[in-house]
């Protein structure tokens, strides 16, 4: 699977990006530095620091209300959609601080795709148009290229075989699990460098969840995945690194194996072993 499949696409997109440079901050794809966030007067994130390597899957775990969804929404400035949200600190994508005043949040979102908790296909659009929407609305006009990317993205989210003969059907006519894979394809079509997934399987049955977990293994080869999950087994299965959060703080962050088998903090150990949460 080649994500930058066509020269034309690359050219069209890349002139809009402020940087596609290879110089990465300390070799990390995403770096979070002293990140604090508030909703009104309530502090949701307290001084978060962590770095994510390229082509890895990082899981954010923790009990409800610990701030993991807020954190992932801060990583592509999606939290700004909530009017009361305030952010202080930095998030680096390669060497760009995405909160710097000269950075356009629209361009950051093009580079960092997002998959949401509930499948949210565009309601009036067909399967095909759902995947093509991001390309078309970002000014890609070449129909043959769009077709190629739609097929590639649906294959990338392992939905192609199920829908290839009925791409004109409404996106909403698919089952919940298929809709979620459609949303993943829609995000992949923008050729993101990072894919942020906010509890992508929490609304799905176990079989559909298993498909999405398999998919994450494939996605890791092409991009960097950060996933929020409620489900510790899922974190253990799919991720290379795990961050445990509690009450807005990052309690422990490290290789998944270490977090689950030999946690350094007592709080982590108690959460992993199911004593609270």
């Amino acid at each position: 699977m080649s994500w930058m499949s066509s020269k034309e696409y690359t050219n069209t997109i890349s002139y809009k990006l402020s940087s596609l440079s290879d110089t990465k901050r300390h070799g990390y794809k995403v770096s979070v530095k002293n990140l604090n966030s508030w909703f009104g007067s309530k502090q949701a994130l307290k001084d978060i620091n962590f770095d994510v390597k390229e082509n890895t899957v990082t899981a954010l775990i923790g009990p409800s209300g610990c701030g993991k969804t807020t954190l992932i929404r801060c990583l592509n400035r999606m939290n700004e959609m909530t009017s009361s949200a305030i952010v202080k600190g930095s998030v680096y994508l390669d060497d760009i601080d995405i909160y710097a005043s000269n950075v356009d949040p629209v361009i950051i979102k093009r580079r960092m795709g997002m998959v949401f908790q509930k499948p949210n296909p565009f309601p009036t659009m067909s399967i095909y148009d759902n995947v093509a929407a991001g390309l078309k609305l970002n000014g890609i006009r070449n129909k043959a290229l769009i077709r190629e990317i739609v097929e590639e993205s649906l294959k990338g989210s392992v939905l192609w075989d199920e829908v290839k003969d009925e791409l004109g059907r409404p996106g909403l006519s698919l089952s919940g699990g298929q809709q979620q894979r459609l949303c993943i394809a829609r995000a992949l079509a923008m050729q993101p460098e990072v894919l942020l997934m906010d509890e992508p399987t929490s609304a799905l049955d176990p079989i559909a969840s298993a498909k999405i977990e398999e998919l994450m293994n494939e996605l890791r080869k092409e991009l960097t995945v950060i996933i929020v999950t409620h489900n510790m087994q899922q974190a253990a299965r799919v991720s290379d690194y795990t961050a445990f959060m509690y009450l807005g703080e990052l309690v422990e962050y490290g290789p998944t194996k270490q977090i689950f088998e030999n946690p350094q903090k007592e709080l982590t150990e108690r959460y992993i072993s199911g004593k609270f949460g």
């Binding site: 361009i107 949401f116 296909p121 565009f122 309601p123 009036t124 067909s126 929407a133 970002n138």
Partner: protein
């Protein structure tokens, strides 16, 4: 309280409630029937005017309708003959012109209120005046049209009529657009933003498109409302027995023609009045039917979000 006491406690409660249910079940059945009966009677009361209007208009109007009636200008006032061609043409032109002005302004103002204004004081004020405008007597709007666009231009004209009608349309379209856009779940907007689509494109091509059916319904509601307006047209396009003569001449319209026919003392004029009323009703009805067809048929196939 120990477990046994608690147990007895629950059984006592259950007995009281079950007794009450048995005692009241006969009464409940009667009340149920009476209530259902009252709602059916009210439905019938509501249908009587609608049914009798349709029946009278069709009964009295159908005999007037012919090709000549639909296409020719009015003949002699005393002897009759001719038709309401200019009135049909005038209604289509004036309402079409009004829609060209009112629909875009209404939709974009509704978009502003729903997507951009939030709960600001300005938005609150706009919403308040918008709902005041919805109840504004149409004759007042006609007078505004007369002063602003008839006196200044020096003649009754179609623009004055179209502007007056669009002033009636705008608050309806604004309110329906805002309400329908608010039904679009935020998750749809977030999904679009997450693809790096600029906000104006998200609003026009994703959010508004998701609310398409509701907005279309609002437009048809507004068009139907103004197609039957008479008062503002008397003050602006005046009415004429001629086909469209240009942008600075009076224009005819079906409601005006019906009013003029009804005030004449001739049998044939009354028959023409009924005929014109039937034509107007058919025009408005077919617009609604067309909308239902478009929205329900295509909307269903496309899995549209906001259904009628």
């Amino acid at each position: 309280m120990n477990n046994t006491e608690n147990h007895h406690h629950n059984i006592d409660h259950r007995k009281v409630i079950q007794d009450a249910i048995v005692r009241r079940s006969y009464k409940r059945k009667i009340v149920n029937r009476v209530f259902t009966g009252v709602t059916i009677v009210c439905v019938m009361l509501a249908m009587i005017p609608l049914g009798s209007i349709l029946f009278e208009v069709v009964k009295n109007g159908i005999s007037a309708i012919s090709i000549e009636f639909l296409t020719q200008p009015q003949g002699s006032i005393i002897r009759g003959g001719g038709g309401v061609g200019p009135a049909i043409q005038g209604t289509l032109l004036t309402v079409g012109y009004a829609s060209l002005i009112g629909v875009p302004i209404g939709i974009l103002a509704g978009v502003y209120l729903s997507e951009y204004a939030g709960n600001s004081k300005f938005a609150y004020t706009v919403r308040f005046f918008n709902s005041v405008m919805t109840g504004m007597p149409s004759i007042v709007i006609g007078i505004v049209g007369y002063i602003v666009l008839v006196i200044t231009i020096g003649s009754f004209n179609i623009t004055a009529g179209a502007v007056a009608l669009s002033i009636i349309m705008i608050p309806i379209v604004v309110a329906v657009t805002e309400e329908t856009l608010k039904l679009v779940p935020n998750s749809v907007r977030e999904a679009a933003h997450s693809l790096g689509i600029p906000k104006w494109k998200v609003t026009l091509f994703i959010t508004l498109r998701s609310a398409k059916n509701g907005v279309l319904t609002g437009i048809v509601l507004a068009v139907s409302r103004v197609a039957g307006e008479t008062a503002p047209l008397i003050m602006t396009i005046l009415g004429t027995s001629l086909f469209f003569q240009g942008f600075i001449s009076p224009v005819d319209a079906l409601p005006l023609r019906i009013w003029r026919f009804a005030s004449q003392p001739y049998e044939h004029a009354h028959s023409f009045g009924w005929g014109a009323a039937l034509v107007l009703i058919i025009m408005i009805l077919s617009l609604s039917v067309l909308l239902r067809f478009l929205v329900l048929e295509r909307g269903f196939k496309q899995g549209s979000l906001v259904k009628m």
